[in-house]
Assembly symmetry: C2
Homo-oligomer: 418 residues x 2
């Protein structure tokens, strides 16, 4: 069977299933999730055996240690997966919510009511727990989901997805509400994003190359962020102890993620005081610094930053540092080089804080907080299906509400238009 025919078939199945899952009650959807959580525990051995196959394959393929670690499951990680499914049971059902309601002078009552999107495609990389996360959130929000995980995790993903499919069947819902793409052929991605009539949203979670490939060819809306070039600007009025704590946390606590800081901007009037200290601290944490001329004056072992550095998402213990003459230069730098993900100001000056908040056009803008908080769970959204730097539909960390749309419901008593 050609990839094109296969993709059309699964999209058709997912679309058909979406009409049923959309109408399922909260009770039924929660029952599916409860059965799936129990199923994870009951099928632990099968899941681990499937994972073993992936690990063997990964070893042969020479995956990096980090990749192998992301891929590996064990009894604890399976328990975590089961528990995270149970977390989704506790989330409020986003469907059927009356978002707004009003009455017109002619007596028509108008409601905006939350409905599922329909069919969602999620494309992701190695970690098999993402399969369970995405399946649970899509079931809870009444959507069908087509999951396209990395080929490294194929058997693990299959074992996890089949637990959800069995749970759906046990509740008389179509198992095609959760479909796992069963071929590693990359052409699947190119074909699936063309199905504008059967797919409502594509969420690529992965590296920039994957996301660009999806976006280039897509005729379906894509929720995404290409990169996270997050900035912290230390203003002249900053509490420098606070600034140090925030800068170290944003860079060092987990450098490989999209909300880690990549560029530090420092107001020139505190440069001589702040830079030598932060230089020493970051150095002691194993962090390489790349700075402009002023920075290198105060941090002698910093390397020279070149233009490309300001555009770079290191995802590593490397930080570019620049001294700016004022808040305007800081904001201009962020607008020019940033990726509209998350940017933070450290300041005790309320006016500067509000200026920064208003003028920085990023999906998360922070005052006196670490960029590492830009995360659905940290924001209290209950879950995170992705982070968006787009301006249409969802922006910033996207929770389960990002998987919904709405319809207008209009109730009358025979009104007609003049």
């Amino acid at each position: 069977m050609s990839v094109k025919i296969y993709v059309n078939q699964i999209a058709e199945k997912a679309k058909k299933a979406s009409a049923d899952i959309a109408l399922a009650s909260s009770e039924t959807k929660n029952k599916v999730l409860a059965i799936a959580a129990r199923g994870m525990r009951a099928n632990k051995n099968q899941i681990l055996a499937a994972n073993k196959k992936d690990l063997t394959y990964g070893e042969k393929a020479g995956l990096s240690k980090a990749m192998m670690d992301r891929l590996a499951l064990n009894a604890n990680r399976i328990e975590d997966i089961a528990a995270s499914i149970e977390d989704v049971i506790r989330l409020k059902d986003p469907i059927g919510r009356i978002i707004d309601e009003w009455k017109r002078p002619n007596g028509l009552v108008i409601q905006k009511v939350a409905v599922p999107l329909g069919v969602i495609v999620i494309i992701y990389e190695a970690r098999p727990n993402v399969t369970a996360e995405c399946a649970s959130l899509c079931i809870k929000s009444g959507n069908s989901v087509i999951l396209r995980g990395g080929r490294e995790a194929f058997h693990s993903n299959q074992a996890i997805a089949s637990v959800f499919q069995n749970a759906l069947k046990a509740c008389y819902l179509p198992k095609d509400s959760v479909i796992l793409v069963d071929t590693p052929d990359r052409q699947v991605i190119d074909e699936i994003v063309k199905l504008g009539d059967r797919v409502n949203l594509v969420i690529p979670r992965g590296g920039e190359a994957l996301i660009r490939r999806v976006t280039e060819k897509s005729r379906v809306p894509v929720i995404k962020h290409y990169k996270g070039i997050c900035h912290i600007f230390v203003d002249d009025s900053a509490n420098l102890d606070m600034a140090e704590k925030i800068v170290v946390n944003a860079k060092v606590q987990r450098p490989g993620v999209c909300n880690a800081m990549e560029t530090l901007l420092v107001h020139r009037s505190i440069a001589s005081k702040f830079l030598p200290k932060i230089g020493r601290v970051l150095k002691s944490k194993g962090c390489e610094l790349r700075g402009d001329a002023t920075v290198r004056k105060f941090i002698p072992n910093a390397k020279k930053a070149i233009e490309k550095d300001w555009y770079t998402e290191y995802l590593d213990l490397i930080l570019s540092v620049r001294v700016v003459k004022d808040i305007h230069e800081a904001i201009n730098h962020i607008q020019k080089y940033g990726s509209a993900h998350t940017d933070s100001i450290v300041t005790q000056n309320k006016k500067s804080a509000e200026e920064f908040v208003k003028e920085v056009d990023s999906s998360s803008v922070m005052v006196n907080a670490s960029t590492r908080f830009a995360d659905g769970n940290q924001y209290g959204l209950g879950a995170e299906i992705g982070i968006s730097t787009d301006k249409v539909h969802a922006r910033g960390p996207m929770g389960i509400e990002g998987l919904t749309s709405y319809k207008y419901v209009v109730r009358g008593k025979g009104q007609v238009r003049d």
Copy 2:
């Protein structure tokens, strides 16, 4: 200059201007609109002279009478344009609104704050008043707009757009917040929808061919509806006088618009009573009927409906009519043949009403009301920038809020992540 270079230049200008207009206060934006409204009146003669050029061109080009009427301006229509700009002044500024706000256990205060989308491209056809409508709504919502009107209205659009540009300049805002594409070359559309980094949203307002052309090539989100195949289902429990009034209004009051009814579905148990009467009434209004076998039994002069009719948006005094055995068959028909625009049930049965509302997956679902109400002004949105049958971003009639996004603003006191 090549079209590609030209399009890149105007997009660059619009993007640059968007940073300024985004930060303009409500007062300033309203002042721009007040000056523009006055400018329409003051420049009446120039606008009419420009319109005269278009009308002369239109006559030579053999435009239809309907097209010529849409194109024509006169003193009253210019006054209407000025008044509609003043209506936008009275709309609430959608920018800066705190959509939601909460505090996390660690003390972080999180806000979702409404922001402009950035650069909006609107592609439309003959009516020059659309130029003023779109420019006012985009200015009020802090967006830059690139307007691409029909070539028939080129001189009129230019005269109207320049009134807005002068008003922007008078308020020290960049005139490039409103850019009118000044070439009729259709390649402009193909190029402009590729500029994903400088354009945030495209709204095509026009025929299906135009919308498909935009969607096929776009790498920018598109808000659209292809067609409006609106249905009315007359249930067995309907008040038949009410049904008649609604059906006639939905079909006859203005057949050429997207929220007019195209297909009437009638419950079989009332077919013998309802069809002969509605057949006579519609006939007397000059409406052609196309029906299935049962319909033709009760309305002898109805033509035979073929499969294609159920998919057709007539935009004319033609109606396809089908008898269904129950509400489920009606809903299935709507899901299969409909365009997810607007569908209405006429019923006195609460259970049927709720079933219809829940199961029909259209952007507007109505009970006992004419489909003609699916309109931003009729819903009380204050204005309408378009109607969307998509599920992402805006759905149904889209008011000024559809021109906004949001950002997360996070305020802390030095919090870092564990």
